[in-house]
Symmetry: D2
Subunit: 280 residues, 4 copies
């Protein structure tokens, strides 16, 4: 038996759930989990995630996709179907801070993140030992603000990953790079967006005297720290928390937000809608 | 147009969602929201909540129920169908502490809780003025541990309420009373169950030196502080929080947990299962 | 016996605590609680709050203040001394939303906020009944964006209050008004500052698709939603939370943040420092 | 310059702070941070933590201790003085679960925990590689419920550590072992104490249907899961969280609670009082 996941979005209309569940039943499958969301009961937008278990001897992903094409056409929907057994390749980009990197590597090795890690790319060579400990290929690309070395980077990641995670990668990508890569990129921003965009958000938070700090995992767009938010984590702070304490607490929030976002992504729980996300 | 809510539970099996959504489609209705849960993908138990919008001129609650009976029979399911427009009668019982009482009355008056409040019953006469301010009938029944006056109470609440809320009512009901009342009763316990059952949980928490306190809203059974949990709220405390501070912070947690539980109940989001709840 | 509270700030230097505690001992008093904070161990700024219990037959506030003047001069400090028994007059300004107003009134009546409430002023006449229920003088001043009626307001509040609370008052004050009033004003902003300043922060939060919402209590300055932050409260949200749900959850956060800020203020726990606060 | 930390507890009485701060001033030192707590303004117990910076050429720890002895005698206090530069030796004991172990090792290597780690002892040999990666001596002692090998363990840890951390060590120590070791032992319990003592607390939490789970770091006594609580962390859960999800969320809470407790311990922020802790 094999689990498949369907993500579907379309204009809200009668009969979607009936048709989708009929499709699943026709293929001898059983629904394991289903979530749906409608933005507005009157003429809104409809989102659905269904996980179902089918006999893979009888149905493979390609044939299910083919069969579903005509169903989706009825509702004029955008959709995709995934085989939960297929393991995605998650490329990691990271600058010097290592807390998110080691967290992802640990969660991967302990089996909590079911993913392949084809590479760790860094503009900080010091991570080589860590990557080797975890037996993950490591590439040092000395990118910096003056030379982001995007062509070199693209050549490395393009055919080698299904999505990228920026586990505290300090450089912004050009719109051209994003377009050429063409797949999802998840970033962790060490601040509570939309506050504190840009550099050193903990310093900004300290100067502003906020009583709560946060971290934000989001999809990357060509706007700095502006893509659809996937996960946010927050914690109370006080005047007793100096800069080092904010950084320390923040590191934990960053790990939580990023691993939460990656986990949702790997479970195909995220649907992008305009500048926001539905995370089922 | 009218919203209906179906709650269904049965042994997990193929085709449930297809059949239910087909039923809804046949009645010309549109699914507004749907949640489901399966305890175990292999031979587990299935739970479902569906909210759908139908033309009430064509279908009323009674006819929908009649029509659904045969559907449910196929799956050997326990179910109920509700008309979201029907307003439930929530009876309130309360002893001297007034914070949950006033919170419920406020939420009701401000329209956040769509409910009727047929009565406030108390063994503390001092709440009369408050009830009158909110124009809710008030009954003083001087029950205490020696004489719980359950017959008097039952006569008052039996035909007059769809469910009861114990908004800090300090007396335990007998199994006989619970059986005779026969409907749901929601209690707020001022502690983090299953810790700190019984009397003065804040004193227990202080003596134990816990660093987090909580409040628990749960269904009442004939076991003290033991029924299925609906909502729990928690907050960090420290040695700086003395007994008064615990009580003050706890009051807020109690209000949050109880209003959250009542809101879920009024939206028909709660399904009881053994000694636990599914809260969609 | 009587409790006094000393708030002191000065350049950090040796011997401050020794001198202050010696002062307290000389007056036969016992320290009940003491907090201090230094921004930087090397040449930073020093903040202190001490609560001590003295025999008020022997020492009244005026004589203690006189005696402390020479102590403070040694350290070139800014300071104040308060008698904890003196009850502050908290004036409330509020527009149509009533949740913070009723929360403050309830906390006051239940004894949790030890304060006098000399008036509720509103540009919404509908609160008159509520104020009367709590036996608090109510004044309707039909201020709006075109005519903020600040002179009328000032005449009402100037000699009649020790500080003001804007319990969701929708109008911004002019710098002139703030200067003429000359005392502290605490505002509740229904957003997580510094995000979402200005109008309808819940709409902004929804459009941005944030996964956490917040509320911020802060001192009022002549910059809109920019004064020193006193308390912030946050809660996770998801795509399931529509605008109404954000408002509902937000109301609770607003009540929590505002009552927390007012409680700290009444306990003389807040020291302003540049654009931030130390809240002991 | 050198930072020292004084922990003091005694019966509350006048003049303690004055005398202690005078002592610090006499030694030419400056108070960096001070916290105090009184259980009851009338005849309670007094607790104090003071961190001060002194010239270590003039005063070393031994002479400061000698000088303070007579001060403490005045108040009949229990106290200790620490040199913040002295680095404690933290021995780690761990069974098969590795998440707390790797978190402690990571925090140590990244400089967040200023501590020596003289050994990792485990009854699971599989951790050897991890310990070696971090260049920490590893000892495999195949203890189990039938043979806890306490003598062997004691021989290893007795002269080699200043305190022990049980980073998910599954065996209970005998009172004899605790007495012979004679120093502090910090344990992480994977449940919200005092609920869910003993084995498999996540299973207990699942069966009980709680809506919040927790983890508790506490000092070890000879009562199972009963020592003074140092830190507790909590997170909301729902019916969607199956056993694996509880374990996963719980792991994070365990890491947070344990590292928080260790950090407080290393900063000499914890004073034990009866069965509770004051954590400044």
């Amino acid at each position: 038996m094999q689990n498949f996941i369907l993500l579907l979005q379309c204009r809200d209309q009668k009969g979607i759930v009936a048709r989708v569940s009929q499709f699943i039943l026709e293929h001898g499958a059983n629904i394991i989990a289903a979530d749906q969301h409608t933005t507005d009961p009157e003429g809104g937008h409809f989102f659905m995630r269904v996980e179902f278990r089918a006999d893979e001897k009888r149905y493979d992903l390609a044939s299910l996709r083919e069969d579903f094409t005509s169903v989706a056409r009825q509702f004029d929907g955008a959709w995709n179907l995934y085989n939960k057994n297929d393991i995605l390749r998650m490329g990691i980009l990271v600058s010097e801070p290592d807390h998110c990197l080691i967290d992802l590597l640990y969660l991967w090795r302990s089996g909590e993140l079911r993913v392949k890690i084809p590479f760790v790319v860094s503009n900080y060579e010091g991570h080589r030992g860590l990557a080797e400990q975890f037996k993950v290929p490591f590439y040092f690309i000395p990118a910096n603000k003056l030379n982001r070395r995007e062509e070199e980077l693209l050549a490395l990641v393009k055919d080698n990953s299904d999505f990228l995670v920026l586990a505290r990668y300090m450089l912004v990508f050009s719109a051209k790079f994003l377009k050429q890569y063409g797949r999802d990129i998840i970033n962790i921003h060490h601040g509570f967006l939309p506050s504190f965009k840009g550099a050193d958000p903990y310093r900004q938070a300290l100067d502003k005297g906020v009583k709560v700090i946060g971290a934000t995992a989001h999809f990357v767009t060509d706007q700095l720290d502006e893509g659809p938010i996937i996960s946010q984590q927050v914690e109370h702070v006080s005047h007793r928390d100096d800069y080092e304490a904010l950084v320390r607490k923040g590191k934990n929030l960053e790990k939580l937000a990023l691993s939460d976002a990656v986990r949702s992504y790997l479970d195909y729980r995220i649907i992008r809608h305009r500048d926001t996300t539905i995370v089922f």
